[in-house]
Subunit: 208 residues, 2 copies
């Protein structure tokens, strides 16, 4: 997900404009160099509107994380898959693409910069917990559907989903903090193998 | 790894004292609230020594990451294991313990706070790349030894090590940014299964 997926080119409502300005300033300056002033520079309306509604940059960035979660919840594809197996491969492909365009890389870097605030700030932790719970629940639902369809083995949906989501997070976090696409490539290959070998029921199991 | 493993209780040399002061101030204040002044408050010698040697807090924090890597390189156990299988389980156990004491949790939070600087700062990325390369190389060496011993299958040591290291990173990062021990518990269980089922050679393979 990059800027084009998150925002229309010229949003009209003030909240979306402010979220877009926050995102652009965060991508450009990172967390530590970010100021309300710099967010205001990207905002097409009066800066005083920002100060009226937000107590400071952290308040605005937490609202930005809430906005992200709403976008994910609205955009997640829930149908159009032949079966749960195809759905799982699509999740892996979407989260761990063969290559990243610069917009997607900027997005991952911006989220990682905010994540660095979480260990020492409960409000950030709460937002990241909600994001992680969303990924986990969505993935567990797909696994549960696959078990019901007889496509997947009778695994623990929550534990399996947790493991997949954790590995995806690790690869995406390393992608933008160690300057290498290898973690994403390796995790993609290994998770695809994991789905095929550990999750997909064999023909013999399907007949039972 | 926590404060007791990283530092002697009362270090005598100035560099170790300064690294300990940096670590304590980082644990207490997080990255964004950290100042040289606050590091100086934990430092038993004159604050002017800090300003003489470091250009600012980022300069000092990058030196702290270099110090961490040196500690890891000095402390990593390389022998005393019956075979590579036991060594791999020890790596997983060490990186993903059943529970974390508060010192270990503080340590993971401090590293994660610094990692948040990496997407927008090349000097931080370089340090995190070196740390990640160290974990990967060490794990790949253990896997290669296991293949030589006939204990492990003939897998790609680098790719397998990369996957293990990435999953471990994901679980530790989530531990301190979403306030849950579940990611560590799940990754531990699944990686142990992965070693037993994907890595360890079956008796039949050993006889070939």
């Amino acid at each position: 997900m990059g800027e084009e997926q998150l925002f229309p080119p010229s949003p009209e409502d003030t909240h979306t404009q402010l979220m877009k300005a926050t995102y652009e300033a965060l991508c450009e300056h990172g967390y530590s160099e970010l100021t309300i002033q710099r967010i205001g520079d990207e905002f097409p309306k009066s800066k005083s509107l920002i100060y009226q509604h937000y107590d400071g940059k952290d308040d605005l960035l937490v609202a930005f994380l809430e906005f992200l979660l709403e976008q994910f919840e609205a955009d997640v594809p829930t149908d159009g898959f032949a079966d749960a197996r195809e759905h799982m491969f699509s999740i892996i492909d979407h989260a761990l693409p063969e290559s990243l365009d610069s917009g997607h890389e900027e997005f991952l870097g911006a989220v990682e910069a905010l994540r660095g605030q979480a260990p020492h700030n409960e409000t950030y932790r709460e937002q990241f917990r909600k994001l992680n719970d969303f990924y986990r629940t969505h993935t567990a639902d797909v696994i549960r559907a696959g078990i019901d369809q007889g496509v997947f083995r009778d695994v623990d949906p929550e534990r399996t989903a947790g493991y997949v989501v954790t590995t995806i997070h690790g690869a995406r976090s390393l992608r933008v903090t160690v300057d290498s696409h290898e973690p994403i490539r390796e995790a993609r290959t290994e998770l695809e193998t994991y789905v095929r070998e550990e999750l997909v029921a064999s023909d013999a199991e399907k007949l039972n």
